[in-house]
Structure formats: structure tokens, C-alpha cells
Symmetry: C2
Subunit: 69 residues, 2 copies
């Protein structure tokens, strides 16, 4: 589950820790989301967006991959 959280976070000059605190979540969670190892909740995605001043599609959209089979 790739995303652009890391890029957006750095653009607003925040560390994982700082972003986590602003959102009220653990640094652990931010780290795993950035690494694409977590499938975050919509609410958390929105909170990240609010903090880094982006919209959902800018950070979390991924095109549907073909050949689901």
C-alpha cells in the first residue's frame, strides 16, 4: 500500500514523532504507514491530510492494478 506520506511530511518539516504527536497516534504507526506495511483507517488518513495540508488523493490514491486474477 504505497503512499506519499513521507514526502508530504518532510515538505511540512515534521519528524515522524512530531507528526504522530500532532495526530495523536504512535510514531510506530506513522513509520509503518510510510513503509507501506499498514493499511490505515480513513480517519487516520484524514488526520494525516489535515496535518500535512494535502487531500486524500494527493497522498493515498493508487491506481487499480489490472489482472486481479
Amino acid at each position: 500500500m504505497e503512499n506519499k506520506v513521507r514526502i508530504a511530511r518532510i515538505q511540512v518539516n515534521l519528524t515522524q514523532q512530531q507528526l504522530a504527536e500532532k495526530i495523536g497516534v504512535t510514531r510506530q504507526t506513522i513509520s509503518l504507514i510510510e513503509k507501506g506495511k499498514y493499511n490505515p483507517t480513513l480517519k487516520l488518513c484524514l488526520d494525516i491530510c489535515y496535518t500535512v495540508n494535502k487531500r486524500l488523493d494527493e497522498i493515498f490514491w493508487v491506481e487499480k492494478e489490472r489482472d486481479e486474477k
Copy 2:
């Protein structure tokens, strides 16, 4: 957690059951999301988007409410 899933679903002429099957999820889950009682996963949000031909912001974006305190 308001959203526009119901509107989008009806636009593509799908029933909750049909949407759920296409996505590979339960009708129960679709129902609760539409009623705003669930906080869906990003992956599920994306799957819904793919099926109703919308993007994340069109269906799931909500402005940050003020006065968090």
C-alpha cells in the same frame, strides 16, 4: 464519518449486496459505512472507489472541523 458512498453506489446502479460482492466484502460492512458508523480501511475505500468510478476525495473527504478542544 459522513461519506457519499450511497450516492455513488446508486449512480452506478448497484445494490449494497452487489457492491459488497464486487469488492469482496459483506453487505453488513457496506451498510455500516454508508450509515457512517464505520471507519473503513484505506484499502476498502479504494476498492469502493474503483467500483463506483470515483476518487477518494469525491467520496470520503471531509473538511477538518474546527474547535478540536
